[in-house]
């Protein structure tokens, strides 16, 4: 078998996967995802306003409702720990389960 046959076969496979990815994403975007439907149900029922993505502190939990008077909230999307909060991983003693570290967290949120 020629090298070009092998290469073109491999390229066709990659292209096939790439096109399948595009088609699948397009189809998935058209339908209603069960996870999205469930989230929408709770948003409507509890009148929620935010995604539960940043639970690290009370002033990061609801960025859409941020007020002007905490460090995080100079404006609704300013990050209080910027840039270290995004780039530096927290020390392990703050995130490990309390069973091994019963001392209270010194950094109250």
């Amino acid at each position: 078998m020629r090298r070009s046959d092998l290469f073109l076969g491999l390229l066709a496979l990659q292209l096939g996967l790439f096109l399948a990815m595009l088609v699948y994403a397009r189809r998935a975007g058209r339908g209603v995802d069960p996870g999205v439907a469930e989230c929408r149900r709770w948003v409507a029922e509890l009148r929620l306003t935010d995604l539960c993505l940043f639970t690290e502190a009370r002033y990061t939990r609801n960025p859409a409702l941020a007020d002007l008077h905490t460090p995080f909230q100079d404006h609704p999307t300013a990050l209080e720990h910027f840039p270290s909060g995004t780039l530096v991983a927290p020390p392990p003693h703050l995130t490990s389960p309390h069973a091994w570290h019963p001392a209270p967290n010194p950094k109250h949120p």
Partner: protein
């Protein structure tokens, strides 16, 4: 097979053989190239998917949230405000919300506690989010203890755990009956955290917000459109930050690729000289270099994109979790609905494939136009 196609395939064979002769260098280049495309494509996929998910999930969020500021800080809203707002023309419903945050020092986690209006949730019980249940290590029927504002423990039976599908909005929620919420936080009975207002015609929201702000100058109305825009801003910003960090890696790659592609070695120049002396045209040499460049860049682009798709949509972007999670102890488990933005992918293609391919062509053309004898002697 037409002659041109046969000739191109033969040159492709030669180009692949040429790449394989320097397989160590080219494999390293392909690896780094694929990695750069993978990270950039992952970022594009992730930010687009989260932004779209936020828009879809929060489509039914309140049309208007009314908060109150007192002495420059957010304060509780008197329930009398709700009665006044309810009387405004165009208002469909006004729902006071009682909610707050509960920091559990033992687990180091922040929970969102909200009063539930559900009659099926009796006093002394709670419904909790899947993430909260995971952190607290409880299941349905177990007891949880919260410390109240008066330092007395509040015992609650877990009546239900919200489905894991809802984690993106409700992972950290503790839903309590209204009376237990009052016991826990000791809020004044005639006040709420804020008001969720819905209107029949969303176009009236700005007018309504203006009316509320005029009647209650300390009110802070937040529109539904502002809620959605917040997430666009956050993910543009976060995506931008990650791109800024990655720029260093991309620049290193650019220097590496430029050095590899643009600077032909003496051996490669001699090779071109020999090819020309045995009858290859300049166009053949250019085609050879073009195919060499395309073989590397197309393989890297396609592999990087497919791997990024798997990383973000099949494995929920574990590489970005660290940046998003920050100091959080409680982080939701969610799976994003695939979104591929054709425009951004085309831009990525232009940035990833075209410069590298062009960089391989220019030195090839320079070497191919030199006299074969001089090229072989150089």
């Amino acid at each position: 097979m037409p002659g041109t196609l046969r000739r191109t395939r033969s040159i492709l064979d030669f180009a692949l053989a040429s790449l394989l002769r320097r397989k160590g260098r080219n494999a390293a280049l392909l690896g780094v190239y694929t990695l750069v495309v993978f990270v950039a494509a992952s970022l594009v996929f992730f930010t687009q998917a989260v932004k779209r998910e936020a828009h879809q999930v929060l489509a039914d969020a309140p049309g208007l949230v009314v908060q109150r500021t007192l002495a420059g800080r957010q304060d509780l809203v008197p329930l009398a405000w709700a009665d006044w707002v309810r009387g405004l023309r165009g208002v469909r419903s006004v729902r006071p919300r009682w909610w707050g945050y509960y920091y559990d020092g033992a687990f180091g986690a922040n929970f969102t506690v909200q009063a539930s209006e559900d009659a099926a949730l009796p006093a002394g019980s709670a419904r909790i989010g899947a993430g909260a249940a995971r952190i607290l290590r409880v299941k349905e029927g177990d007891l949880i203890t919260l410390r109240g504002h008066d330092n007395l423990p509040l015992l609650l039976t877990v009546q239900g755990i919200l489905s894991s599908d809802s984690e993106l909005v409700a992972s950290d929620l503790l839903l309590l009956p209204r009376e237990d919420f009052q016991t826990l936080f000791g809020l004044p009975p005639d006040q709420a955290t804020d008001l969720a207002v819905d209107v029949a015609n969303p176009r009236e929201l700005p007018t309504l917000a203006a009316k509320i702000a005029e009647r209650y100058p300390e009110a802070r109305p937040i529109l539904h459109s502002e809620i959605l825009r917040t997430y666009d801003a956050i993910f543009d910003w976060r995506g931008g930050l990650l791109v800024a960090v990655l720029m260093i890696a991309v620049l290193c790659f650019a220097i590496f690729a430029w050095d590899r592609a643009a600077g032909l070695s003496a051996e490669e120049r001699r090779e071109i000289g020999i090819l020309k002396s045995i009858g290859w045209e300049t166009s053949d040499v250019l085609l050879l270099k073009l195919l060499e460049g395309l073989a590397v860049s197309l393989t890297a682009f396609l592999s990087g994109c497919v791997l990024a798709y798997g990383h973000v949509f099949l494995f929920s972007a574990p590489l970005f979790e660290g940046a998003l999670k920050g100091w959080s102890v409680l982080y939701p488990r969610y799976r994003l609905v695939p979104v591929v933005d054709g425009y951004q992918l085309s831009l990525l293609f232009l940035l990833a494939v075209v410069p590298y391919t062009a960089a391989t062509l220019i030195p090839g053309w320079r070497a191919a136009t030199v006299d074969p004898d001089a090229a072989m002697r150089s």
